[in-house]
C-alpha cells in the first residue's frame, strides 16, 4: 500500500519500475541540503500533509497531487512562486481554495526549511519579476508578491 502522504513514497509504484527515474529522483534528493532532505523524510511532513488534506477537504486524488506538489517544489522541479497556479491546476481548485492550500503548504509544511527552499529556488530559477505572489488571506502583502529575499 503506497503512503500517499509521503513525498518519497507517493510515486513508488511507477518510480520503482523505472531504474533511471528512480535513481534520478534520489540524485535530486541527494543534491539538497540536509535541512530540506529532512523535510522530505520527516514523518511530521506526512502528518502535516494529512492535516492540510483534511482541512481543505481534499479527496484521495487531490491529496496525492498535493503531496506531489510539495515534493516537486522541494526537489526544485516546480518553482515556489508558481505554487498558487500549480495548486489550482493540479488540485483542480478555484482561486480561493488554491490560495488557501498554498498558504498552508508554505506556512505549515515548508516553514522549517522555507528559507533554504527559497535560496535554492533563486539559485535555480533566478529572480522572476511579477511572479505570482505568495497568497495571503489577510492581505498583509498588498503588492501580492513573494519576497524571496526575505
Amino acid at each position: 500500500m503506497v503512503n500517499i502522504y509521503s513525498p518519497i513514497e507517493v510515486d513508488n509504484d511507477t518510480l520503482l519500475l523505472d531504474d533511471e527515474k528512480h535513481e534520478l529522483f534520489y540524485s535530486k534528493i541527494s543534491s539538497l541540503s540536509q535541512n530540506i532532505q529532512d523535510l522530505l523524510f520527516s514523518i511530521d511532513t506526512e502528518e502535516k500533509l494529512k492535516n492540510v488534506s483534511v482541512q481543505l477537504r481534499l479527496n484521495q486524488k487531490q491529496t496525492i497531487e498535493l503531496t506531489r506538489l510539495v515534493r516537486d517544489i522541494i526537489i526544485k522541479d516546480v518553482y515556489l512562486g508558481d505554487i498558487l497556479k500549480e495548486a489550482q491546476k493540479r488540485l483542480s481548485l478555484d482561486e480561493t481554495a488554491a490560495r488557501d492550500a498554498a498558504n498552508k503548504i508554505i506556512s505549515e509544511i515548508f516553514s522549517p526549511a522555507l528559507e533554504d527552499i527559497k535560496k535554492l529556488h533563486i539559485e535555480k530559477f533566478g529572480k522572476k519579476e511579477n511572479a505570482p505572489t505568495q497568497p495571503t488571506a489577510n492581505n498583509s502583502n498588498p503588492n501580492n508578491m513573494i519576497n524571496l529575499k526575505k
Partner: protein
C-alpha cells in the same frame, strides 16, 4: 358495247320522250293529231298507268303488311327453335372432339417450339373456348334477344305498323298523287298531255323502287331467320376455330356475320322510324301537295310540285338507303365485335396474370430443357441438356481427361446453386430443402447445391447429424472431386459454424476418416486457435505431413500460435519443462521452442541448446535468430551460453544440454569463477526487470547469488541507506533501492525461489530493511 350502239340505245327513248314532251304542238302539226286523239291517248296512258299502279300498289300493300307482320312476330322464329337446339347440340358434340386434336397440336407445337401454336400462346384460348363452347348457343341468344328488344322498341314507335309503314312513308301519297295527277291531267291541253306522260313514268319508277325496297327488306328479314339459325348451329365450330391462329378467320367471319344479321333489323327499323318521324310530321308536304292540285305557281312542273318530287325522292332514299345502311352498319358492328373480343382477351390475360404466367412458364421450360425433369424417376425420364453434358464428360473421362466428369458435375451443381441462391433462402428454408434431399425428392445436383449453401452460411446441422451430412456429401461427390473441394471451401468459409459449435464437436469432427474433411476441419481449428492439446497438434502434423511445403508451413505457423492454448503448455514454467521433456513429440517441441524464442523464454543454455537441436543445429537460421535475440534481450542467458561454450572448449560434455556444470556434483571453483566472470560483466547493464527475467535456474546457482549480492553491497557502500530515526524515515541507499526495484517486479511476476535468494542477500548485506 360499241359506243355507237350505246348512244342509239339512249337517244331513241329520249327522242321519243322529247317528241311527246316538247313537240306536242309540232307533232300535232306534223301528224295532224287533233285534240280528240290527244285525249284518247292520254286516257289510254292513264288507264295503263292505273292498272300498273294498282298492281304495284297491291303488291306494295301486301309486302308492307307481310313485313309488318313478320317484324311483329319475328322473335317466335328465333327463340327456342327445336331444330336449332338439336342441331346445335350435334355440332357442339362434334366440336368437342376437336379439342383432343387441338391439344395434340399444341403439344407437338410446344415440343418443336412452333411460335404461336405452343402452349403459352394457345392454352388461355383453349381453356376459354373449352369453357364457353357449351354456352355458345346461350351467348348467341343473348345477342339475338338484345336485337329483338331493340326491334320491338323501334316497332313500338310505329304504332299501327302496317298503316304507318305504308302511310308514314308516303307510299299512300304516291297513290294519291297518281290519282290526282290523272284528274289534273284530264283537261285536254298540250300541257296536261305532257305532264301525263311524265307523271306516268315518274310514278311507275317511284312506285317500283318503293316496291323493290319493301320486297328487299321483307326478303332480308325472312332470310335473316335461317341465316341466324345456321350461325347459331355453327357457333360451336366458331368457338373451336378461335383457338388456332390458322382457323381464327372463321371465328372472325362468324362474328361478323352473326352481328350483321342479328342487328341489321333493329338498325333498319331505326332508319325507317327516323324516316317515318320526319315525313309524317311535315305539314308543308300537304301544303305542297295542295299547290300541286291548284296547278298554279312556278313550282308546278310536269304535274308535280318540286317539293312533292323531293318528298318522294326522300321516301325512296329512306327505303333503299335505310336497308343498305342497316346492312352495312350491322356487318361493320360484327367486325367491331371481333376487335372488342381481342381487347377483352388482352385485358383478361393481364388481369389474370397470363403474361406473368407465360413468362414464368417460359423460364420454367428453359430450366427443364437445360436440367431435365426434377425428381429421382422423372429425372431419368428426361434429363435435358444436362444429361448430354454429363455423357460428354463421361466419355472424355474414358478417353483420358480424368477431371472432365468432376468439372462437369461441379458446373451442374453451380447452376443449381445459382438458382437457389437467387431465392435468398433463410436457414428454415434450407433446412426444408435438406429434408427433401434426404427423402430423395431433390436431384443430385440440387442436393449438392443446397448443401453448399448450408455450408457457406454455417447452417450445417450440429454434432453427429452434421458430420453425417458432410461425410455423405463428400462421399457421394467423390473425395477428390471438384465439387468436394468447393464444398469444403464453403465449410471453411463459415468455419464450420454450427457443426463445430463446441470444442468436443470440433474434435469429434476432426476424427473423421474422410481425409479431405479431416484436413478441412483441422485447418479451421488451427486458424481459429481451437487446438487445445498436444495430441491434437500431433495428429494435425501427421495428417498434413505429406502436403506441400506451403501448406505445411501454414499449418505449423498456426499451431505455433496455438501452442500457448495447449493444456500442457499454457503456463510459462510448464512450457520450459515441456521443452526439456525428451518424451514429447519433437515436432511439437520445435514449434514450442520457436514460440518461446519469440517470447523471450529461452533463458538458459539448456533451453537454448535443446531448441537449437530441435531447429536442426546451432547454425540453422532459427537458431541464429534465437541467439541474436538472446544477446539483445537476455544478457545473463547469453552469459550462460558463453560460459558453456568456453567450458565446452575444455570439456566437450559441457556442451550437452542436459549437463549442468555448476550442479553440486559437477561444479568446481574454476567453473564458478568462469561463470561469475560472465555474469559480472553483464550484470551492471541489467535493470531490475532484467534481473527478474533471469531464469530461476540461474538464480538458484550459488554463484549468481554471490555475484548479485556483491553488486548490491557495492551499490550500498557507494550510497548507503540511512537508518530511520524518531520522526524520520530512513533514506534508501543505492543497494536498497536496487533491491526495492527487483522486489517490485516480483509483484507482477512472483517467484518464491528468487525472492528467497533476495531475502538472503538482504540478510547478509546488512542493509536496513524494510
Amino acid at each position: 358495247m360499241k359506243p355507237k350502239l350505246k348512244i342509239l340505245k339512249i337517244s331513241i327513248p329520249v327522242f321519243i320522250l322529247a317528241v311527246f314532251v316538247f313537240s306536242a304542238d309540232i307533232a300535232h302539226a306534223i301528224f295532224g293529231i287533233d285534240y280528240l286523239t290527244n285525249w284518247a291517248i292520254m286516257q289510254l296512258i292513264l288507264g295503263i298507268q292505273g292498272i300498273v299502279m294498282s298492281i304495284i300498289g297491291k303488291f306494295l300493300t301486301y309486302v308492307a303488311e307481310g313485313l309488318a307482320w313478320f317484324l311483329k312476330y319475328q322473335s317466335n322464329f328465333l327463340q327456342d327453335v327445336a331444330i336449332v337446339n338439336t342441331s346445335w347440340a350435334i355440332f357442339r358434340d362434334f366440336a368437342n372432339m376437336f379439342f383432343i386434336l387441338i391439344l395434340i397440336i399444341i403439344a407437338f407445337a410446344t415440343i418443336f417450339d412452333w411460335q404461336g401454336y405452343n402452349w403459352k400462346g394457345l392454352m388461355p384460348k383453349f381453356i376459354f373456348a373449352a369453357l364457353l363452347i357449351n354456352f355458345s348457343l346461350a351467348i348467341s341468344m343473348i345477342f339475338i334477344n338484345i336485337s329483338i328488344a331493340l326491334s320491338n322498341l323501334m316497332l313500338s314507335q310505329f304504332g299501327d305498323i302496317t298503316a304507318n309503314l305504308a302511310g308514314g312513308l308516303g307510299i299512300t301519297k304516291l297513290a294519291d298523287a297518281m290519282t290526282k295527277s290523272s284528274s289534273i291531267f284530264s283537261t285536254a291541253s298540250e300541257a296536261t298531255f305532257l305532264s301525263t306522260i311524265v307523271s306516268f313514268v315518274g310514278i311507275i319508277v317511284v312506285a317500283s323502287i318503293a316496291l323493290m325496297a319493301m320486297i328487299s327488306a321483307f326478303i332480308f328479314s325472312i332470310a335473316r331467320i335461317p341465316v341466324l339459325w345456321a350461325l347459331m348451329i355453327l357457333s360451336p365450330l366458331a368457338w373451336i376455330t378461335y383457338i388456332l391462329p390458322s382457323t381464327r378467320t372463321f371465328w372472325n367471319d362468324w362474328w361478323k356475320w352473326f352481328f350483321g344479321w342479328t342487328f341489321f333489323l333493329p338498325i333498319y327499323l331505326f332508319a325507317l322510324m327516323m324516316g317515318f318521324v320526319i315525313l309524317s310530321n311535315r305539314p308543308d308536304l300537304t301544303a305542297a301537295a295542295k299547290i300541286a292540285e291548284d296547278g298554279s305557281g312556278f313550282g308546278f312542273l310536269f304535274g308535280f310540285t318540286f317539293q312533292n318530287l323531293f318528298y318522294y325522292v326522300l321516301t325512296i332514299i329512306i327505303l333503299v338507303g335505310g336497308l343498305a345502311m342497316s346492312l352495312k352498319a350491322s356487318f361493320a358492328a360484327g367486325g367491331g365485335a371481333t376487335k372488342a373480343f381481342s381487347a377483352i382477351d388482352a385485358w383478361t390475360k393481364r388481369k389474370f396474370y397470363v403474361p406473368a404466367m407465360q413468362k414464368a412458364g417460359k423460364e420454367k421450360l428453359a430450366e427443364i430443357k437445360d436440367t431435365g425433369l426434377q425428381g429421382k424417376y422423372l429425372g431419368k425420364l428426361y434429363g435435358g441438356e444436362r444429361a448430354e453434358r454429363l455423357r460428354t464428360a463421361r466419355v472424355a473421362g474414358l478417353l483420358g481427361k480424368k477431371e472432365a466428369m468432376s468439372e462437369a458435375e461441379a458446373l451442374e451443381v453451380q447452376k443449381s446453386y445459382a438458382k437457389y441462391q437467387a431465392r435468398n433462402l433463410n436457414k428454415a428454408g434450407l433446412d426444408e430443402l435438406e429434408a427433401k434431399a434426404q427423402q430423395g425428392e431433390l436431384g443430385k445436383f440440387d442436393k449438392f447445391a443446397v448443401r453448399k449453401l448450408r455450408a457457406e452460411n454455417g447452417w450445417v446441422a450440429p454434432a453427429t447429424a452434421g458430420q453425417q451430412e458432410m461425410e455423405s456429401t463428400i462421399k457421394e461427390a467423390g473425395e477428390n472431386s471438384k465439387f468436394a473441394q468447393d464444398y469444403l471451401k464453403a465449410l471453411q468459409k463459415s468455419n464450420f459454424s454450427d457443426a463445430m459449435a463446441s470444442q468436443a464437436e470440433a474434435e469429434n469432427l476432426a476424427a473423421t476418416t474422410l481425409v479431405p474433411l479431416k484436413k478441412a476441419v483441422m485447418e479451421t481449428m488451427v486458424k481459429n486457435n481451437r487446438v487445445l492439446t498436444d495430441v491434437m497438434a500431433k495428429s494435425i502434423l501427421d495428417v498434413f505431413a505429406t502436403d506441400s511445403k506451403e501448406v505445411n508451413d501454414r499449418i505449423k505457423e498456426g499451431l505455433q500460435k496455438n501452442i500457448k492454448n495447449f493444456e500442457e503448455t499454457k503456463k510459462k514454467k510448464v512450457r520450459a519443462a515441456y521443452l526439456l521433456d525428451p518424451s514429447k513429440d519433437p515436432r511439437v517441441k520445435r514449434l514450442l521452442a520457436k514460440q518461446m524464442s519469440e517470447d523471450g523464454e529461452i533463458t538458459t543454455y539448456q533451453k537454448y541448446k535443446t531448441a537449437a537441436e530441435l531447429f536442426g543445429g546451432e547454425n540453422e537460421i532459427e537458431s541464429r535468430a534465437m541467439l541474436n535475440k538472446l544477446i539483445k534481450d537476455k544478457p545473463l542467458a547469453y552469459a550462460d551460453i558463453l560460459f558453456r561454450q568456453k567450458l565446452g572448449q575444455i570439456d566437450n560434455t559441457s556442451l550437452d544440454a542436459d549437463y549442468d556444470p555448476l550442479s553440486p556434483a559437477n561444479t568446481s571453483p574454476q567453473k564458478e569463477t568462469m561463470f561469475a566472470d560472465e555474469i559480472r560483466e553483464k550484470l551492471p547493464k541489467m535493470g531490475a526487470k532484467a534481473i527478474n527475467e533471469v531464469d530461476v535456474e540461474i538464480w538458484k546457482r550459488p554463484v549468481f547469488e554471490t555475484v548479485l549480492g556483491k553488486k548490491i553491497s557495492d551499490l550500498e557502500t557507494a550510497q548507503p541507506s540511512t537508518v530511520p530515526r524518531p520522526g524520520k524515515r530512513g533514506k534508501a541507499g543505492a543497494g536498497k533501492r536496487y533491491i526495492q526495484r527487483i522486489m517490485k517486479t516480483f509483484e507482477t511476476d512472483p517467484d518464491p525461489d528468487k525472492e528467497a535468494v533476495l531475502e538472503r542477500i538482504i540478510r547478509t548485506s546488512g542493509i536496513p530493511w524494510p
